[in-house]
């Protein structure tokens, strides 16, 4: 029989009585349901006398076979129908679940960082009066006057040209906490 590789020997031990009916996937004597290549090398079930009689009947006119006989022939040759082995498995739920759990680990890292790494007391430049002072300096320096921040500032009116949801309040208005 020539050289038989170890993989072929493995599958040949599992053939048993079954008939080989073709070359199969890459020449292996294996049964597998594949939608891309639905021509396995073996019949699925071992031969019995009834199946042999059906094979004889199958050689004639197919219109004489009843539906039950056609089904018996299919099931003896194949393990599952196309509809059965291409049915959705629901594995996407597992994948999405594990992905979201990994995202939760990231969120936990963020929370622990805020609690244990950063100081609870913010630096002095975060105070609102200081932020307003910085805003006044930016507007005085005319930063980004063409398409950026100061393009929205009206220098005659001393206020914003267009007030949207994200424009800060007018920093030139004096507030009670504007300390030194």
């Amino acid at each position: 029989m020539g050289f038989i590789s170890n993989r072929s020997k493995y599958w040949l031990e599992r053939v048993g009585n079954r008939e080989m009916v073709g070359y199969g996937l890459n020449g292996l004597p294996m049964y597998v349901d594949k939608p891309e290549f639905p021509f396995p090398a073996l019949r699925y079930k071992e031969p019995t006398a009834e199946i042999h009689s059906l094979y004889e009947k199958q050689k004639g006119n197919w219109k004489l076979l009843t539906r039950e006989e056609k089904k018996a022939l299919y099931r003896s040759n194949y393990c599952q129908t196309f509809a059965e082995f291409t049915a959705p498995t629901g594995e996407w739920m597992k994948v999405v679940g594990i992905g979201l759990i990994m995202c939760c680990f990231g969120v936990w890292l963020f929370i622990l960082q805020k609690l244990f790494v950063y100081k609870q007391e913010l630096p002095i430049s975060f105070k609102p009066s200081r932020v307003r002072a910085q805003m006044r300096r930016i507007i005085d320096l005319q930063v980004d006057p063409i398409m950026g921040l100061c393009s929205n500032w009206d220098y005659e009116k001393n206020d914003w040209k267009v007030k949207r949801w994200n424009t800060p309040p007018n920093p030139f208005i004096r507030c009670p906490d504007d300390d030194e």
Partner: protein, 80 residues
């Protein structure tokens, strides 16, 4: 089987990858052309117009003296 069926046209049997690649290239080229023209008209030309409007009546000396008189420069002093 039941009844007569009309003659079906023969499907394409060879050169499937080649025809798929040709179709993909045509679709991608047309989409890219549309996006490029839209980018030029709606984004690039608009930006150039905004810059031109700004620089038409921009007096840089006046802006310099405004910022200098607020005391924001390190190398020049304000007027007072």
């Amino acid at each position: 089987m039941a009844g007569e069926v009309g003659k079906a046209s023969k499907p394409q049997l060879r050169g499937l990858l080649k025809s798929q690649i040709k179709r993909n290239i045509i679709v991608i080229a047309s989409i890219t052309a549309v996006i490029a023209v839209a980018q030029k008209v709606f984004i690039n030309d608009q930006r150039k117009k905004v810059y031109a409007e700004f620089y038409k009546n921009y007096d840089i000396e006046k802006a310099f003296h405004q910022i200098r008189n607020k005391g924001l420069f390190d190398s020049c002093e304000p007027d007072n």
